[in-house]
């Protein structure tokens, strides 16, 4: 038997039809011949042959049905048939596929991020058991405090819950190799960090335990990147020395290219150095991040409880003096799973995005159901005819099911394509460095998610309307087979769908509007200084500038050098750029008052401490309210002076004259002179626009020198970045060995601070736009379909004297009614769910008038646009033609 020929035939329904036709015809012709042979006239013979044969159309239809019965080749032919069918009705299939693709694409893209950041284990052995151990000072609200070496050693030796425990300290060094100095990022680690993170060297070895002892720490493991870029992939580098901060370190190993390590650093480490484990007996300052692997079978909470016991002992022995009057400083330890530590700040924006994408998907499903319904209703007659010709119910259901599957499949494939492009884009645009560290890929789970969505969409919103149609078509066929029935029910179902779609998109629009408005508000908030036209850069002096005098002299010379650049109006140095750099909370004491930085005093005795050059306030445009600024007279050795801000005065000397009062940073201690307040300046939002203003203490660079400073240049040019090269030259003129870092305009710095909000705003706005577009398409579909269905009625109305305006108004009324209902419901939904965005909204009421007003205007405008074309079509109906047709 010629199976291949049959498959080929089945693949082409037309050819199959022709073959059946030929077979049936040949039967009739043979019967005619026989009849003639029996002496009938040809006419008689033909009539009898046809009579005896029965209804050819019906036979044809059921033969085709048999041939298509569930076998592989018939499914294939069904699919091809469905394809052709869909290609012939692009008005239905194109929006259906596109809508589904957008719904699946958006959801899958977001899910691929969720999978990569929240669900997929980290690329470390037994990653689920890795935890970060932080110290905390609960009374101060500090829950991530790096540990001193002594604490680490005690925890490591005495705990019974960890397999192993390591410590990491991050640092910067100036690497001299070749012509130019480069500041590189280093981590100092205990030797066991390498096996713990599954890091094996590509060349040489990693640290031995003995190298964690002081005096043996001058060895280095290079990252693959720095080995390639700075040392030309030199395979003989092992055993050679490299120079970091002027000291020699022997290269003992090189890590492989794919080595991954992060404890939340903004960049990957360039070099790895051994951490010398030298305990400071006082344990006052800590710099270590502790990482540990839980012993198998020990749950996190149990480990936390056991570590609490240890921490309580350490608190009694070492950390009790932090509360000098016997108060609880709130010392403790906190175990945070490494994965959570790394992805913590991604959790909230991702959930928000996942929710928004789910809404898009729902709206897309609503659209497809809508399309299916109208498509189905318009095919009711076709189905009725097929049924009266003998097509079985199974056959019709298969037809509809196959079509749904084809649409689902096409939408899914396109959706996966969209997801692939979108997830890469989302990662690239993301302000979260972790997103790039963790990386995104469309793995089997993500693809499974896309397929699952496709199936759900088709099952719920594709098949059901289709099956409904078939059932209805049968009942139609049973009657006249002409009049299309049950119009009303399908129409109201479609209207409900469109109202729901609109409501969902309205909630998204409102949310996006709130974020946008809130973002604009944030940018309007006065920071207390003038960032416009300012260029910034950071400098960290190498250890060769070991004394304070050397440091302050360097900066003094540099400031003078920079001031001579023609494009520069003024320049200043500071240890902290407000609203950009990290705040430095320092405790301070006031003469004549008890020293209680950790007490229950009304205002904690903490202030943000900034070391500045005398010109700082002038360059930044910060007003002096009382007293004077620092001057050249405030030298090393002269009377120690400070300046404070108004918030500090309000907190500690309310209604008093602060000038001349004495305070000192840290605890009052012998040999340290009190510092005199010489001036009060206006408040600055040092922690950024969303943070409260803090008490601030400024000290002059001459009296409290610092190796690491930031420069602020007030420039005369529009684009401050153009001064960057002059600034580099100025630094080089003094010392060629000092790298200038993070050169950026102040406005760029502030932009980085807002990047996370901007990202969320951008995403939610994009989702809201998509949602509105889909809802508009749905609305168009319903209104347009209604016009088609009511063509006769509209024609009659016009024949009876309805004007063009009446008809147009009728169509638009329907659109506005649907959109308006959606708008109202959407607003109610958004008010009910306002908690979701509460944390992201700043300075905007949840019933923000401009946003609600904007959406209230936008939605009807979009409805108008969606209904305009159907309305014009309605108005162009020719009443005469309608009358003739009726």
């Amino acid at each position: 038997m010629s199976l291949i020929r049959r498959i080929l035939n089945l693949q082409r329904r037309t050819k199959l039809d022709a073959e059946i036709q030929a077979e049936l015809l040949s039967h009739i012709e043979m019967a005619v011949e026989d009849g003639i042979g029996r002496g009938m006239s040809e006419q008689e013979a033909r009539r009898e042959a046809i009579l005896r044969f029965g209804n050819t159309g019906m036979v044809h239809e059921s033969v085709a049905g048999e041939d298509m019965f569930l076998s592989l080749n018939s499914i294939c032919s069904d699919v091809l048939y469905a394809f052709r069918q869909l290609r012939h009705t692009p008005a239905f299939s194109l929006p259906a596929v596109l809508t589904l693709a957008i719904g699946i694409g958006a959801s899958t893209a977001v899910f691929s991020l969720v999978q990569a950041f929240l669900l997929r284990p980290l690329p470390y052995p037994d990653a689920s058991r890795l935890v970060v151990v932080w110290e905390q000072l609960r009374v101060l609200g500090i829950d991530r405090f790096p540990a001193p070496v002594g604490d680490f050693v005690d925890y490591k030796d005495e705990n019974r819950v960890f397999d192993d425990m390591g410590a990491v300290e991050d640092a910067h060094f100036v690497l001299r190799a070749g012509d130019y100095p480069e500041r590189i990022f280093a981590v100092r680690t205990t030797a066991n960090i390498f096996p713990m993170m599954g890091l094996r060297p590509a060349l040489g070895r990693t640290f031995s335990v003995s190298e964690n002892q002081l005096g043996h720490e001058h060895v280095v493991v290079l990252s693959n990147a720095i080995w390639r870029e700075r040392f030309g992939s030199d395979r003989t580098i092992l055993g050679k020395d490299i120079i970091l901060d002027g000291k020699n370190y022997q290269v003992i190993g090189v890590l492989p290219r794919n080595a991954q390590f992060s404890l939340g650093y903004p960049q990957t480490p360039d070099v790895w150095l051994p951490l010398p484990l030298v305990a400071d007996p006082a344990r006052n300052t800590g710099q270590l991040q502790m990482v540990a692997r839980l012993r198998a079978g020990i749950p996190l909470d149990q480990a936390q409880r056991q570590m609490d016991v240890l921490a309580a002992r350490l608190e009694r022995e070492y950390h009790i003096q932090m509360g000098p009057h016997g108060e609880d400083p709130g010392y403790g330890v906190r175990l945070v799973p490494l994965h959570q530590e790394l992805s913590g700040n991604l959790r909230e924006p991702l959930s928000l995005m996942l929710g928004a994408a789910a809404l898009i998907f729902l709206i897309a499903c609503g659209n497809i159901a809508n399309l299916m319904l109208s498509h189905g209703v318009s095919r009711e007659r076709e189905f009725a005819i097929r049924i009266s010709l003998g097509a079985g119910r199974v056959r019709l259901v298969r037809l509809v099911v196959t079509e749904a599957i084809v649409i689902a499949f096409a939408g899914m494939m396109l959706g996966i394509g969209i997801a692939w492009a979108a997830s890469a884009m989302l990662v690239n645009l993301s302000p979260y460095e972790m997103a790039r560290f963790l990386g995104v890929s469309l793995d089997s789970k993500v693809l499974g998610y896309a397929v699952g969505l496709g199936l759900i969409a088709m099952m719920l919103f594709g098949l059901m309307p289709g099956l409904l149609i078939v059932r209805r078509a049968r009942s139609v066929a049973a009657r006249t087979g002409h009049q299309v029935l049950s119009e009303r029910r399908s129409r109201s179902l479609r209207s409900i769908l469109v109202v729901v779609e609109t409501a969902l998109s309205v909630t998204l629009l409102l949310g996006a509007g709130m974020l946008i408005h809130s973002f604009l508000r944030l940018q309007e908030i006065p920071l207390g200084f003038e960032p416009h036209g300012n260029l910034t850069a950071h400098i960290d002096l190498p250890p060769s500038y070991s004394t304070g005098t050397a440091q302050s002299q360097f900066y003094e010379r540099l400031l003078e050098q920079v001031r001579s650049i023609t494009a520069v109006k003024g320049v200043a140095a500071t240890t902290m750029l407000p609203a950009s750099d990290r705040l430095l909370h320092d405790p301070f004491s006031i003469e004549g008052r008890p020293w209680q930085p950790f007490g229950s005093a009304r205002v904690p005795q903490f202030a943000n401490h900034q070391v500045v050059s005398p010109d700082y306030f002038r360059v930044m445009g910060i007003a002096v309210r009382q007293g004077r600024m620092f001057s050249a007279q405030d030298k090393d050795g002269s009377q120690p002076v400070v300046m404070v801000n108004e918030t500090l005065v309000r907190g500690f000397w309310p209604g008093e004259m602060p000038i001349g009062k004495h305070l000192v940073l840290g605890a009052p201690r012998p040999g340290i002179p009190w510092q005199t307040i010489v001036g009060v300046v206006a408040d600055v939002r040092s922690g950024g626009a969303t943070a409260e203003t803090l008490p601030e203490i400024y000290t002059p660079i001459t009296q409290t020198p610092s190796a690491a400073m930031a420069l602020v240049l007030d420039t005369k040019v529009n684009d401050p970045a153009r001064v960057a090269n002059d600034l580099r030259d100025a630094v080089r003129a003094i010392d060629r060995g000092i790298p200038l870092e993070r050169v950026a305009t102040y406005e760029e710095l502030l932009g980085t601070q807002l990047a996370a909000r901007k990202y969320q705003m951008f995403l939610l706005a994009a989702f809201a736009g998509l949602a509105l577009l889909l809802a508009a398409v749905g609305l168009y579909g319903v209104v347009s379909y209604a016009v088609t269905q009511r063509k006769g009625e509209i024609g009659l109305r016009m024949a009876f004297g309805a004007s063009l305006q009446d008809v147009t108004a009728m169509v638009l009324r329907q659109a506005f009614l649907l959109a308006g209902s959606g708008l109202g419901i959407g607003m109610v939904m958004s008010i009910l769910t306002r908690q979701i965005l509460a944390n992201e909204i700043f300075g905007v009421h949840f019933l923000d008038v401009p946003v609600y007003l904007g959406v209230t205007l936008l939605v009807p405008a979009v409805a108008l646009a969606a209904a305009a074309f159907p309305a014009r079509r309605a108005a162009s109906i020719d009443p005469m033609q309608t009358l003739r047709m009726e």
């Binding site: 038997m1 010629s2 073959e19 059946i20 030929a22 077979e23 049936l24 040949s26 039967h27 012709e29 043979m30 019967a31 011949e33 026989d34 005896r52 044969f53 029965g54 209804n55 050819t56 019906m58 036979v59 059921s62 033969v63 049905g65 048999e66 041939d67 019965f69 076998s71």
Partner: protein
């Protein structure tokens, strides 16, 4: 109504007919059934075709195009090995049916 029984007997008749010839077209099968049953079985001739195609899908019969004595193109069917087995089974079950009916009617 017992549609399957009727279908089953039509299948049986077709298979039996084809087992007696090498190959035969649809018209010939109908003619043969009618002649052999002394015009007792009057079926709408067209209804043979869905049955033929169904049996072909099941692999009981195979088809190919050929020409009749009067030089007309026609589709010829022949029994396959699977069809022969099916015929045996169908005959046996038909015997059972007939026996059952006979015993009920009291002829046995």
């Amino acid at each position: 109504m017992a549609k399957n029984d009727l279908q089953g007997s039509l299948d049986l008749l077709v298979l039996k007919t084809l087992s007696q010839r090498t190959k035969l077209h649809g018209y010939g099968i109908v003619q043969h059934i009618q002649r052999a049953s002394d015009e007792l079985l009057q079926v709408e001739e067209g209804s043979i075709y869905p049955a033929l195609h169904r049996m072909e899908q099941s692999g009981w019969i195979a088809s190919e195009w050929g020409t009749t004595e009067t030089n007309r193109k026609a589709k010829y069917y022949r029994l396959t090995r699977l069809g022969q087995k099916q015929l045996q089974a169908a005959e046996e079950s038909f015997e059972q049916l007939v026996k059952g009916i006979r015993s009920i009617l009291g002829y046995a």
